[in-house]
């Protein structure tokens, strides 16, 4: 089952869902963010980020990896960077395509998370 983990907060999220044909989406947002994003998917809110919180992201990744094939679509902000840093702990994300919201569109990058 394709699972999308993302922090994208605008309509590019729908493009990302379509791109990876996600059957499950986990949107990770900062707790201070009053999101008005309406997607019928799971939204995880985390506190302002610190090293301890990366453990929460790793938990989310662990569970998602048990359930299916995980794809990342990230927006460049502190949460996106934290998800990326957490992904570096997993072999599966090394040399894997990652979607990045950049200049108002989605780009695919072959990440080297080493």
């Amino acid at each position: 089952m394709p699972i999308l983990i993302t922090n994208i907060k605008n309509n590019l999220i729908n493009e990302a869902i379509k791109h990876v044909q996600a059957e499950m989406v986990i949107l990770i947002l900062n707790k201070e963010l009053q999101a008005d994003i309406h997607i019928p998917h799971r939204i995880e809110y985390l506190d302002a980020l610190d090293p301890e919180k990366s453990a929460q992201i790793r938990d989310i990744l662990d569970h998602a990896l048990e359930e299916g094939e995980v794809e990342l679509a990230l927006e460049a902000d502190a949460m996106g960077l934290q998800i990326l840093e957490s992904a570096k702990n997993y072999e599966i994300f090394k040399k894997k395509n990652i979607l990045i919201a950049k200049n108002g569109k989605l780009d695919t990058f072959l990440a080297c998370l080493c």
Binding site: A35, A76, D77, A78, L81, I100, G104, A111
Partner: protein, 374 residues
Amino acid sequence: MYHVMLVPTLNCPSNCSYCWGSKDNAGVMDIEIIELVVDWLKNYRDEPVHFTFHGGEPLLAGYDFYKKALPMLKEGLEENEAGFSLQSNLWLLNDELAQLLRNYDVAVSSSLDGPKDINELQRGEGYFDKTMAGYDIARRNNLPVNFICTFTSYSKDLVDEIFSYFLECGYNLKLHPALPSLRGDNSDPWALSPEDYGELLIKLLDMYLEHMDEIKISDFDHFCKSYFIRKGTVCVLADCLGDTLAVDFEGNIYPCYRFVEMPEYVMGNVRDKPTVEDLQKSEAWKVIQSFMDLVDESCKKCRFIKMCRGGCPYNALKSDEGHIKNVDPQCTAYKMIFEYISKLATKEMMVNMMPSDPSLKPVKKGGIMSLMIK
């Protein structure tokens, strides 16, 4: 939390070239107004309140005023966890006042436009020495002071010199662009255009990122935080209506200190203990509400709408001579800095994704992402 700006007087002993916030022979607030403020706010909103004493020069109200006002507000509004700030040129600060302000954890800000020669030109002869004398008194009484640096059409070209000055002195600062006023045209020649302000912000952000361990420029912390949480964290980047109020020496209530003593913007008076619903019926409230409605429509396609909410309604009113026809002209500057933050954040992401890509220069530790979670 909501914010009430108390303006004890619009009098001011200094004579800054671009100032629009003072007035000669203005009245001075009596302590009775503070009693009325406490009575009014006890049942106004059930949430924390922060007071800023502003002016004119608020210390003209005198030691006795603050000796009564601070405990009156603190104890009278204990359930609202009242907190305090004060914006002053510090000329009238003495040891007694400094200790009083410190005892009530008053966050003090003062204006300083850079080294002495730039200050003297923009703020008048003698300003620098008098403010520094007050700053010395604050320091010896352990009263922290942050500085607000106004950039004008003149000083924008001296940004390197000004930044170095604050860096060398170890002063934290907040930026303020000189802006046109509804009260007169004396500030117009000094006003910073939105394009110049945007360029200034970008240049200063680069300097800040190089020296983040040595200095704090709170504006950039707010811009980055606002970008991250998609919500403005200071008044000019947020829907301020109802969350910011100002009270003048007679107890008149305005949407912000920038409207003080402009009768057409009076929303009510503390003597009448108006409710939020009462203030909503005022013409001034409706004017600011019309600004928010305009932002919802005009900016709906802007990707930064949630981060700046069209800027400051006062600036919008000024740009169309008292009418709401457009958003804050500083929108241009806000777009420029948010675009730049977005670009820097993307670069930091890419460097982390592809560290071996030779086209991507390494990012210094503590980059733009660290400001987002500061």
